[in-house]
């Protein structure tokens, strides 16, 4: 399941609910998950907020493509992928990837693969709102590039 959400979500209850709803009890031996969360510091600057822009339509298509590609490479039982858009505050979850499989190798590798493809290819863009010190004017800046996670 793929969801693009404009409001905050709780990753752990989302996983728990999906795990019940998918009705694979007894089949999955492994669930690997990743949750990306907004930090309050980036590149040495205090970040007080963030806006996540995306390309509606292409985003969903691309996320779907990533999941299909992971299912071709590994034996997976189910996947859950949630990504926030809109205005975020520090400590809010940005992305959730959860992968269920019979065995751990598939779950671990597919989860990481999905995250790396998402970070390098999915059409989302972050703009940070900075507040450095009391007197300094607020600044907004686009995050320029994601670094590779491998």
């Amino acid at each position: 399941m793929i969801r693009v959400l404009a409001t905050p979500f709780d990753p752990w209850s989302a996983i728990a609910e999906h795990q019940v709803a998918m009705q694979r009890d007894g089949e999955y031996g492994a669930c690997a998950t990743f949750v990306g969360t907004m930090r309050d510091i980036n590149e040495g600057d205090q970040v007080k907020g963030m806006t996540l822009e995306h390309y509606p339509g292409m985003t969903e298509k691309h996320l779907e493509k990533i999941v299909v590609s992971a299912r071709e490479k590994w034996q997976l039982l189910d996947t859950l992928l949630i990504h926030r858009v809109g205005d975020l505050l520090p400590n809010e979850p940005i992305v959730l990837v959860a992968v269920w499989s019979a065995h751990r190798k598939d779950a671990f590798e597919a989860c990481r693969f999905i995250m790396e493809d998402l970070k390098s290819q999915a059409p989302f863009w972050k703009k940070e709102s900075l507040s450095n010190g009391d007197k300094q004017a607020e600044k907004n800046r686009w995050v320029e590039k994601n670094t590779s996670g491998y």
Binding site: Y55, M58, I94, L118, Q121, P123, W125, V143
Partner: protein
């Protein structure tokens, strides 16, 4: 009456995202022009006179494309900077 492909006038929807949206001052425009066979033709058309100082990615009909990807009437062409989601 026949026309060479490049002479054919066609309508294309162009989208801009993130910093490019700010550079172009709009999120979306519809262009109607002749002489556009590829993504690069569209880019030269819309960016004429703009200083774009960053790497630009593009998509045709919501799929990643290359600068020499063909475009046809009615296509949706998007230009955007490197993605930073996740």
């Amino acid at each position: 009456m026949t026309q060479s492909k490049n002479e054919h006038s066609m309508t294309i929807k162009v989208l801009y995202f993130a910093s490019l949206k700010e550079v172009f001052g709009c999120a979306e425009q519809v262009i109607n022009s002749t002489g556009m066979s590829t993504v690069d033709d569209v880019w030269r058309h819309v960016s004429a006179g703009c200083e774009v100082q960053q790497s630009v990615l593009n998509a045709v009909n919501q799929e990643y494309a290359a600068s020499d990807t063909a475009v046809k009437a009615g296509d949706e062409v998007a230009f955007f900077p490197p993605v930073t989601g996740g």
